[in-house]
Symmetry: C2
Subunit: 305 residues, 2 copies
Amino acid sequence: MTAAHFGDRLAQAVARRESQIVLGLDPDPAKLWPQAAADTGASPSTAGPALAGPAVARHCAALIDAAGPACVAIKPQLACFERLGSAGWLALEETVAHARDNDLLVLLDGKRGDVPVTGRAYGQALAGATPTPWGDVDGLRADAYTVNPLLGRDALEPFIDAGRAAGAGPFVLVRTSNPGAADLMDLELAQGGHLWERVAALVAELGRLGESGLSDIGAVTGATVPEHLARMRELMPSTPFLLPGVGAQGGDVAQLGPAFAPGRAGGLVTASRSIANAHETAGGAPADAARAEAERLRELAWRLG
Amino acid sequence: MTAAHFGDRLAQAVARRESQIVLGLDPDPAKLWPQAAADTGASPSTAGPALAGPAVARHCAALIDAAGPACVAIKPQLACFERLGSAGWLALEETVAHARDNDLLVLLDGKRGDVPVTGRAYGQALAGATPTPWGDVDGLRADAYTVNPLLGRDALEPFIDAGRAAGAGPFVLVRTSNPGAADLMDLELAQGGHLWERVAALVAELGRLGESGLSDIGAVTGATVPEHLARMRELMPSTPFLLPGVGAQGGDVAQLGPAFAPGRAGGLVTASRSIANAHETAGGAPADAARAEAERLRELAWRLG
């Protein structure tokens, strides 16, 4: 059986959900929604730091329940779960399951990248399963995951292969939104162009088009440098763009026009803290504020795309 | 209280252990040592795939018991644990604790890299702790960890800061040992030099020297391209080098001379499959073959350094 094409799956999900919004989940145990932090009834036998993992899972579930209806996917930031150890990874597994129950795609943001043999292990962790003498151990079975391209083509391939086997897709870092991204990604090459343009060309070359017209390899394209977006679209005409930096990181959703050239699913708009912390500026209950902000972003992006 | 300097801690550990060998732990559940795979007595209530995590932990503990005496550190490959989910992360935590009980440094190989706010979360996961309303949750409290520099200086800083607060150190990817590493890291820059040389200069600039003469920021420097080592040492005169690719990946430990210029701790020699699978060529019990191969590498490197 051939897995579905990731670009086609993404286009279908965006159309079905009428949303290009990706709900970033970056839980900070010190800033959970009050209800999630207070409700420790589910784990009566645990105490102390062991309460943090379940509380993070409750927070993420509440955020998905509130903002998820306006979104097409969640994007858990793996670092925020890993810092709670095995309990954090368990919270991640529960969060992924909750998103799937709510018809949301799961885009794992771990920015992994390693030599090929290790890349295959990451592929098993993110999108596949690991054969063992006791049966296959499922990984997180994500729909998509971010990947760091620094180690080159042979290092990207296992992430691509794992995606194709599962109908999932890697989103390769082309240009991130932090100021320091200029240090290396914007370096000019002797052969002409910038390093990020070389990566963009590689992403376009490695991707395969589906019936939707979208590639099955995406790109992380920083929305805080909108002047780059037109050039990115020129180099990667069919690539789904993951646009971080909207909201708390200062991006402006109205400047994202070129992202949507290949269709609405050509531009996924990430928002994390601007949704989870909307009540801090808008007032009201966290869930209500998050729902309203996610819906506001959804409508804004949908009109653009 | 000021934490000890990582370079000094590393130099002391190498002198105390009389070893520069780093034991790579890349456990594949399908290729565990027979004793670790068979001994399921510790988990009588679990069955099926849930047996994989504990078996991996037993395998790693046995490998540490056998080869650890000839080594200065372990290097768990995070992907190989993550693919078993929360049970895999628990096996990682147990492996880290077992190494520490055996006076081995812990160098986590996850090649993380992200925007600064997320880098701080990774710092908590790898070397620190996470404040929560229920008390601090300890991360893995590693002595060192590999870091991907693609996102630039501000993305490296949280990994450096987390290290300095804990006496730990990042090892920044400068040039990896896979063939595809040439695709981006070897690109020539318009300003002159290769991309990896630009990263090397950044690593040298950001590091601080300790009393040992070593920097507190290390570099991952692929040993399959020994002709680069002299140039790497020129650009990073005081940087501890992590030399992967020895053994299974084809490197030759005798070509590593320049690595040891700043002292024996200037070059850490990683070996994974060549130790864990030594019995496949040498015959005998896995533990005996692993012990002999680790000791052989230790003596070889110690004579060079």
